[in-house]
Every structure is written in structure tokens, then in C-alpha cells.
């Protein structure tokens, strides 16, 4: 178990299985197919992201350096939240980018979904956390990663 401390962008608590992208998370490319097909598992459709491609994103603790790509990003995240395809929480190693921040805030203000979002967890966070590990997020931005040891 290792603990990281970040900044709560949207404070809240969550416990979920980690899904880790070491490359920038392209929100549109990742959610495009699942939004179109109504895939409730939200299978990642970003062909350029070898870490996530083909993996379900719904209910996961999505761990990434930042989001990239189309400026529909925040709106796509908002739609995913409204349609029940959202991640359990969003965890960023570095400072959050404007599109991810928009997605997290739009989900918080305009939907009933609560998707805790923490940034600035440090580069060590993405070195340590692996897909499949259990992640616990606390209100103050504390993130505990259980590696089974």
C-alpha cells in the first residue's frame, strides 16, 4: 500500500479498480465508440492508447498524466456521466488540463453523478499504480493505492 497526496479538484471519496494510461488520455477518441453504441462498459476506443484500448472504463479509477485531443473533451465527459458511462474517479499525476477540468466540473454542477477528481499526485503516482490495483480516494485529495503488499 502506498499513499499519495494531491489537490482535490472535485472533492469526494471513491474506491475502484485502477485503469492506468501512461500517455495522454484522449477523451473523445476514448469514449467516442461507447457513446455512439451505448456500450455501458465504456470500452476505450482510442487506437493510439495501447494502455487502454479495448478496456472498459466505466467505474474505474482512471489514472493518467493529463487529457489530450479535441475540445469536445469536457463535453464528452459530461455526456458519459449523464449516460452512466463515467469513471469512478479521475486521478492525474500532474496539473489537470482545461478539458479534463471542464468535464469534471460540468459533471459536478450539471449532473447527479459524483466523480471525485484529484490532480498533482506526482510523477511517482503513475510509476507505482498499475491497472487492476485497488485505489481509494479521500475528500482531502489523499489517494491510497493497494498493490497487495
Amino acid at each position: 500500500m502506498r499513499t499519495f497526496h494531491g489537490r482535490p479538484v472535485v472533492p469526494g471519496s471513491a474506491k475502484a479498480e485502477a485503469l492506468v494510461s501512461h500517455a495522454g488520455f484522449n477523451t473523445l477518441a476514448s469514449f467516442q465508440k461507447s457513446l455512439m453504441s451505448g456500450d455501458k462498459k465504456a470500452t476505450c476506443s482510442d487506437q493510439n492508447n495501447a494502455d487502454l484500448y479495448g478496456k472498459p472504463m466505466f467505474g474505474k479509477a482512471l489514472c493518467m498524466p493529463q487529457t489530450i485531443g479535441s475540445t469536445t473533451g469536457g463535453m464528452v465527459m459530461y455526456c458519459a456521466s449523464q449516460l452512466g458511462q463515467q469513471a469512478a474517479c479521475l486521478l492525474f499525476s500532474g496539473p489537470i488540463d482545461s478539458l479534463a477540468a471542464a468535464g469534471a466540473i460540468l459533471s459536478d454542477v450539471w449532473t447527479d453523478v459524483h466523480m471525485p477528481t484529484v490532480d498533482n499526485l506526482g510523477p511517482g503516482f503513475l510509476d507505482f499504480v498499475k491497472t487492476g490495483m485497488t485505489v481509494t480516494v479521500e475528500e482531502d485529495g489523499t489517494v491510497m493505492v493497494d498493490d497487495g503488499k
Binding site: 475540445t71 463535453m75 471542464a102
Partner: protein
Amino acid sequence: MELTREQQDILSGSKGETLAKVMKTLVMYGDVFGAERMVPVTGAMGHLVTSFGLSVMKPVQKLMQELIDAGAVSSQPFTVDPRPMDKNVPANLIQNLIFKVMYSKQAEYEKQLAELGLLAGDAFTCTCYMDEIGNIPAKGDVLSWAESSAVVYANSVLGARSNRNSGIIELFGSIIGEVPYFGLLTDEGRRASWIVELKTSKLPPAQLLGSAIGLKVMEDVPYIRGLDSLLGNELNGTAKDYLKDMGAATASNGAVGLFHVAGLTPEAVESGETLIRPDAKVYVIDDAELARVKKSYPLIWPDPDARPKLCFIGCPHLSGNQLHDWTAKLSDALAASGRKTVAVPTVFTAAPAVKDAFEKTEDYNKLTAMKVILSDICPLMYMNNPKCRMMPVITNSNKLRTYTSSRYYDDEEILRYLSEGGI
């Protein structure tokens, strides 16, 4: 963030619950990035990214209706990204059926856009800054824009100031008429944390160079050295078109919202290397690096050797000059290979007003004689159709490649495909 009395009143609900939520969203957005205040949007027009009435995007339509019902409409006219459908673009019966279902809300959504402040019925393009459309911000204008390729162009080539706002957020800024002051709106946020040293043997394909830069610097600001010696020091039509395409790739393959080109873009000409942060990292791009980047693109066609069924040129939309240039290049290539028409069904895309102007020229007849279709569609939205996604589609757009199953080729390779049927 420190709010004025009026801003605080809106946040407290003095102008209704909906506008209070709009303000709350903008304040939270600004707080995340350490904005200390809001600043007025000084650009004359907005630009929105969401142009498509997708049936699965009911949440957006619901939100927009809430805004309209509350009278919370844009304080300025806006342009919007391209339409998702055009009956002139090839599609079979099943694909057309799916288009009708997918975009069944298009008319309804366009009505909402009109009620919210859409500039005109033909204001649908990702290149709103073309002369023919007229949404051209001045240097220093503060904008509330989205559409990654338009934002990076406005910031870099025009010297206007917009953050990479998300869809919906950009509309909120236009509704309130103010945006939180942070990031690319500030002088400090516009300084470069990367130096890109271009050392290629010739001018690289714009969208390949942009891809390499975007994949490396992600959302940082690059200062590009060496491009002016290949592209020239005059920000003329050719240079603007190149930077349009390069910028679109930096913004889609990465998250670049602003780049500076030494000796060419306005702020680089004005301030030179003082724009570079002392701790800037260096990325050298030579022929080998571009070859490596190009080779790294995955190909997800079910049959990698499939013969292309469609070719898209124009993501982002082509300028008038590019339409003329492509017509000439294609005409020459077909003549050289002894063909009269393209070997792969091909669609050129441009803004409605650019398309209208081009249709009045002699080159339009030349283009249609080669069986090329001219459309104002968004190729990306076309490729969203699951039955189109299965098709082997080729393109010179690294943006389209990033978001769809289409395969990227540079202009020379595309010309060979279209004139010879293969490479």
C-alpha cells in the same frame, strides 16, 4: 477568484438559477487554474465545437434547452464546427439509414444553436477564421472559443487569446461575456517551455510535423526554430494554410493551444526568443524522427491490405487557395498517369462560404470532371458512423487519423493513390 459585485450577484442567483449555475461552472473552472478574476471577452464572435445533433447527446441538448428557457443565450454571435452530414458524400443504403438515426436530432439541435446566437445558417466550419466566413479575431482579442484547431490557429497565427476551452464551457463564456483569466490569456502562459529545432532536409508535411510536436510537448507551448527558413518569413496565404494544418495536428495528437514559429508568427516576430522560458526543453526533429513518428501510427483496418474505398482531404477544412492547389496537383498527377478521374472516391471539404466561392471558378469544373466531390461535411462525424468506420478510408489529415480508423498518408502518397490506385 475575486468577483465583482455583479458577478457575485449572478452567482447568488439574482438572474436566476440557470445563470447562477453557468457562473458557478466558470468560477470553479477559473479556481482550478488559479485565476484571480474574470476578464471581458473582447472578440466580436465566439466559436463552438458542438455542431452535431447526435441522438446519444441528449444531455447536451437538455442543457442547451435549459439555457434557452432561462434566456441565458450568447451575448455575441458565434460560428460552429461543420455539419455531420452531406448527401453528396458517398454512403450506401445502410450507412445512410444509420446516419439518419445517429443524427436524428440535427434539425432540432440547429434550431437550438440559432436560438443561442448562431451567426448564420451557413456558419458551420472548423475554419471560421477564413476571410469568406469572417470570424477573424484581432491580435490581443480575448476569446471564449473551443475547437482545438481553431483555438490553436487563433492563438498562434492571429495572436488572439483563448484557452483550450471545452465544448459547453466556451458557450458559457459567451453567455456571461467574461472568462476566467488564466493560462493562454496571460503573458506568462504564452511563454514557451519547449524549443523545437527543425532540422529536416525539406519542408515536412504540415500534419506530420504537427503530430510529432503534439505527441512530444502535449499541452505545452513550443517555440519552433528552423521552420521559417523552409516556409518563409511572410505570413501569407501559403504559410497560414500550412500553420492551420500543422496546428490542427499539434492540437489533436497532443493538446497544444499555442505555438510560436521563429520569424513568422506575430508574437515570435514581436518578442523573439524572450518568449522562451529559461528551463525550456529541446526537441530536435529531423527526417529520421519524422519517419519514426509516422511509422508509429497504428493501422486498425480489419484488412491492412484493403483497397481504400474513400479519401478525405480537408480536416481541418481547406482554404480557397488549397482547393485550387489540390485541383492543379491532382489534375497534373492524373494526366501523368493517363487517367481522367480519381482512382479512389475522393471528397474535398471546405467551409460553406469557401465552397460557394470555389464553385464559381473554372477550377470547380475541373475538379468535378475528375469526379472529386466538394463538401462542407465534417469528415470526423462521417467516420463516426459504425458502418463507415469499417471502411478503409485514407486521408492526409493526422487529426482525422487520430479520432477515426482512417489511415494517414502524406500529400504525395495521397496523390499517387488517387492517380495510380496505390503506392
